[in-house]
Amino acid sequence: MTYQLENTQQGEKYNTIFSKVPAAERRKRNSRSRLRKRVLLGIYIVLLMLPLYWLLNMSLQTNSEILGSMTLWPQNLTFDNYIGIFTNPSWYMGYVNSIMYVVMNMIITMLVALPAAYAFSRYKFIGDKHLFFWLLTNLMAPPAVFLLPYFQLYYSVGLFDTHIAVAMAHCLFNIPLAIWILEGFMSSVPKEIDETAYIDGYSFPKFFVKIFIPMISSGIGVVLFFLFMFSWVELLLARTLTATDAQPIGMIMTRTSTASGIDWGTLAAAGMLTIVPGILVVYFVRNHIAKGFALGRT
């Protein structure tokens, strides 16, 4: 039961009736507390951005300037570091590789997690609780434990150094997470909706795609964000399962350190670029995240 009073006016009325504090004073207090909130949040965001600012700062400088004197902003602005990355296939293919296996992982995970989460949220079946806990244990499995077996497994089935290998390996933690979150969202959809749809003559697949998925779209948005995030940033497995053809950008960045020293400018520029796809994903799902994570069980 989630109804909302047409709130602000109503709330204001209650306040005027019940509060001893005069309205003008209350508004002043409110605006003061809001200001304090903004200032605190502002300080946090500034602190959060400092390392990133530094990265951006370095990415726009030449190496000699970076290593020379301490400057808070680039004195001789240069885009050479970025140009170098975009003109060199061995660099930009790293981003392409990363994006490819992340997208593959998102598709595979969604395809198997949606029906499974539906089963967990709607039905009791033999071993359901055990299965669910077992799934969560996979979320807890440290990738370091699986490094060697993974390498051998994917090597023996001929998938070593392919995008699909990394995408499958990341399923280990992404599928359980997706099922866990989706199950919460699905449980908050009343069962009567399923029943009504069947009475109206919908088949299960048609109901699932046409009615059910749109109803939990904000959940799907949140899950996609998490899938993207965890697959994009994971590197231990991705590094182990790839050599040259499918190497993720995070690994290619280690090439900046050579015998003649570290190419700080390129490293910083490449680091800045790893954030860009993430910003796009967050931008698209931001309203879903804000809309709610109610997770049904409240």
Binding site: Y3, Q4, N7, G11, Y14, N15, F18, S19, R38, L40, Y44, L48, L50, P51, L52, Y53, W54, L55, I66, L67, M70, L111, P115, A116, A119, S121, R122, Y123, K124, F125, I126, L131, T137, A141, P142, A144, V145, L147, L148, P149, L153, M168, C171, I175, I179, K191, V233, E234, G250, T254, W264, G271, P277, G278, I279, V282, R286, A290, A294, R297
Partner: protein, 295 residues
């Protein structure tokens, strides 16, 4: 929601997931178990050793030290990040473009590959070219993460707080958004204090997302690998070597298959145990609350 139908055909819906997860979880785990009881000398030369590797690993003082550090690290991280995350979520604007902007800004650290996070902080804390190292030096603070273990710890904790508090804040923020306005109005009518609103409305409503946040944070902090590895290489000495790094060094670096497999299994069981305790306690707490509140 306890009106689930008993239907074993639901297994059909779970099956594709099961096949896939089994491929990426069970087969490798079997390999690990297999190695843990053998001494592997070559591709076709190995012999059964029983529980010898387990005994060696449990008595290894370096691993015990790494384990202690790991527990300490996870506890510090959780006590800082969870309250801080809740606090930040409470500060965030509720709607409009500001809400979107803040949300995008605070999620930025989450979207950086983990070894890149290490590199960023390595640059950032360097005395000669990094803003933080430079700032500290200007303030007259002697700070060196490659020499001083205390500085290295402080940096790793700061880095982890920087990196992961946004996840807690984001989860809490969406939890807060799901509280109906009517609750706040009722509280206003009762003239509830801000603390009372937080304690009796916001915090209980956040339980669900906090379960996710605490579990995810615990698990990831327990598996931390790339960030400290890039930042300090586990040094100075072995003061910031955590479990995953010891394991990776042993398995990949030294190719000690038997011991590292035994270590993996012990490691896995510890994580499993702690997470299970976490999970069941939290679920029980939730159940109690639901039955009391009649929700």
């Amino acid at each position: 929601m306890n009106n689930k139908v008993y239907n074993n055909r639901a297994w059909l819906l779970v099956l594709p997931m099961l096949v896939l997860v089994a491929f990426s979880a069970i087969i490798p785990l079997m390999t690990v178990v297999n190695y843990s009881v053998q001494d592997v000398l070559g591709p076709n030369a190995s012999f059964f050793t029983g529980t010898e590797w387990f005994r060696t690993m449990l008595n290894d003082s370096a691993l015990q030290a790494a384990f202690g550090r790991q527990i300490l690290f996870s506890l510090i991280i959780l006590t800082i990040q969870i309250p801080l995350g809740i606090g930040i979520a409470l500060l965030m604007p509720k709607k409009g473009w500001q809400a979107s902007a803040v949300l995008i800004l605070i999620t930025l650290p989450l979207l950086i590959p983990w070894n890149v996070v290490g590199s960023i902080w390595q640059i950032f804390t360097r005395g000669d070219i990094g803003l933080m190292g430079w700032g500290l030096r200007e303030l007259g603070i002697n700070y060196n993460i490659t020499r001083n273990a205390g500085d290295a710890w402080a940096t790793i904790i700061l880095m982890d707080v920087w990196h992961w508090t946004p996840l807690v804040a984001m989860l809490c923020y969406s939890g807060l958004r799901s509280i109906p306005e009517a609750y706040y109005q009722a509280a206003r009518i009762d003239r509830a204090s801000k603390w009372a609103v937080f304690r009796y409305i916001q915090l209980p409503k956040l339980t669900n997302v906090l379960v996710i946040a605490v579990l995810l944070r615990f698990m990831h902090s327990f598996m931390i690998y790339a960030e400290p590895f890039v930042l300090t290489g586990g040094g100075p000495g072995s003061s910031t070597t955590f479990l995953s790094q010891s394991l990776a060094t042993m398995a990949i670096g030294q190719q000690d298959l038997g011991p590292s497999a035994a270590f993996s299994i012990i490691y896995f069981l510890v994580i499993l145990l702690v997470s299970w305790v976490f999970y069941t306690t939290i679920m029980h707490l939730q159940k109690d609350k639901n039955s009391q509140g009649g929700a």
